[in-house]
């Protein structure tokens, strides 16, 4: 089982909630993407202590010091968390630089990262006992407290459900439906839409397994790969004693067509929605037909 304590790294434990001291570095802070979201994250409560853009060291962005490289940023702040907002072709070098400086958690936002770059960084992170969330993820949000990513704040409310999602907008849509029905979220976690994820569904479940303030998990999956099948098998084998609900997008998509996300493609039965439904059914995980049905199923499971 995973000993990585995500919540503790992001916000501290519930008895000593010191998220205000959890410093986050933003790589690519002065780019149009990085700068827009740095303001939004800061406005939401995230403690962004430094930014990195090569050549812009010494500058300040909205009161946040900007450094030329990760070494200077880490030395000056002592941060162990970074959000990577650089363009996909620069992702691998940005990630390597972060790991070399002792970063323990990388939230990897860019879409279109070559899959070999993701694997290379993933292997390097393993050697360094660090974790990657993403790439091609909206990031993570602890509603009402902080967020590292590109998600809007409005759909999310504070609560006790955990949402794990392979899709960005569906994470917002499902959380919005949960919020409307009174089910706030303790954590929403973007697994990412790529074929290779730094943290997969099983690892993400293990990261929140021990928390008493979590009462249920919603998995938002989609066609492609076998992450949901593996997840279902894991729930059967290892068990999870709280209600789990799933929603899977793409059951009407044609085969062998990439449906937007690099990872959303079906080959034969591999990656098909049917395969996912049948695995989840074996694990007694109810699957909602639409995002709006998620809270209905959750209510039913929580009342059992």
């Amino acid at each position: 089982m995973d000993s990585f304590d995500l919540m503790k790294i992001l916000v501290g434990t519930s008895s000593e909630n010191d998220y205000e001291n959890k410093q986050v570095i933003i790589q690519g802070i002065t780019g149009s993407f990085g700068s827009t979201h740095t303001r939004l994250m800061k406005g939401y409560g995230t403690n962004i202590s430094a930014g990195v853009t090569p050549g812009k060291g010494g500058m300040s962005f909205d009161g946040i010091p900007v450094f030329d490289n990760m070494k200077d940023a880490v030395e000056s702040t002592g941060s162990t968390i970074t959000g990577i907002f650089v363009p996909a072709p620069s992702f691998l070098s940005a990630g390597k630089e972060a790991l070399a400086c002792g970063i323990k958690l990388i939230v990897a936002i860019p879409e279109h990262v070559p899959v070999r770059d993701t694997i290379e960084l993933f292997e390097l992170a393993k050697e360094n006992n660090a974790k990657i969330i993403g790439p091609n993820t909206p990031g993570v949000i602890i509603p009402g407290t902080m967020k590292i990513g590109i998600m809007p704040g409005q759909p999310f409310t504070k609560g006790t459900t955990v949402v794990l999602s392979r899709s960005g907008t569906l994470m917002y849509e499902v959380s919005y439906n949960l919020s409307k029905s009174g089910y706030g979220q303790r954590l929403c976690f973007g697994i990412g839409g790529d074929p290779i994820n730094g943290t997969n569904l099983i690892e993400a479940l293990d990261m929140v397994r021990r928390y008493d303030d979590v009462d249920s998990v919603v998995v938002v999956g989609e066609i492609g790969g076998d992450a949901e099948e593996q997840f279902a098998e894991y729930v059967i084998k290892v068990g999870y004693n709280k209600p789990v609900i799933a929603y899977i997008a793409g059951r009407s998509a044609p085969k062998e067509k990439k449906m937007g996300h690099a990872g959303a493609i079906v080959y034969g039965n591999y990656g098909s929605a049917e395969s996912k439904f049948s695995s989840l059914q074996k694990a007694h995980i109810p699957v909602a037909k639409s995002p709006a049905e998620v809270p209905t199923l959750l209510r039913r499971e929580l009342r059992r």
Partner: protein
Amino acid sequence: MRLLEYQGKELFRQSGIKVPRSTIASSIEEAIRSGSEIGYPLILKPQLTVGGRGKEGAILKCMTEQDIANKFEDLLHNKVKGELPRGILLEQAVDIKEELYLSYFLNRSKRCYSIIASPEGGVEIESAKNKIVVDVPLRGISRETAYRIANDLSLRESLKDPIANILLNLSKLVVENEAELAEINPLVVSADESVIALDSKIIIDDNSLFRHPELVKYEYLSKQESQARKNGFSFVELDGNIAIVGNGAGLVMSTLDMVSDQGGKAGAFLDFGGSATRDSIFQALKLIAGLSQIEVILINLFGGIVKTSLVAQAIFDGYEEGIISVPLFARISGSESDKAKEILREGKARMFDSVEDSIAAVIEAISPKEKKIHG
């Protein structure tokens, strides 16, 4: 990007993997000329990005020039599994003694590359009883691993060297071209004991194409697909009559499913992404306007970072400038949705708060009139 068979074979040839003598032809004159160079008997193979053409009876043997004349045009102009061939490969017929299977692929759940090898080729690998699966490092396989796999296939001694060499070459091909899959099915042993790749299936990681300018020539994009690429959209053309447009691949897929649940058929999947502007949405509508099968447009927009008022303005302008000529229904939720509704109040588009209501309106709009009368 899935390469066509002949493109994959070009990469095989460059990597030192033996393939049969072959030429691609897109006209009957070319075909007859190539026929005399290749010699008879030869095989006609339509070039497609979908599998299973053999089962569809679309691989044809020709014994003479007359045979080509009889069969070529039909093969070139008929769809196989919904796809029109992009040329016909003429290939020397190989006298097959044995059929094997090799593939080198991105193993998603293990987050590494893996090899599958089997002495049972020419069939779908899922049904092969005897297969070897080996996980390999990112940089490719070693000689030792290649020989171990060749050994474990339990073939006769004389085949071990050629198979191990093919594995090493396949590994080099995958690493150098950043392929997600390179499959040889079947890999055949011919009557004269040559080991030859009779088919190819190669998928290149689209996201790595920026560092492989030499592979860009293999890419085939329709007019709409190039338009989508230029604007940073994800776009898939489908065969129904409803265009489904939204911000986010998952959201558009989910909308597709809900439309299909209500009996609708999607004719386009278009995700305009999270950082859309008024102009890019306007471009999305223009792209959709170029698809003749579309009778209605459904926009599902979950506004967050994208300001929904920008989308509303683009829709309004689309009607004003005559780009949109079909009914448009939009579910617009999120930031500035009040302002968005205000903009569209005067226009022809109809707006809804819930996805379900917007889909119901779409289905109503495309239903034949008689159906409405009979309920």
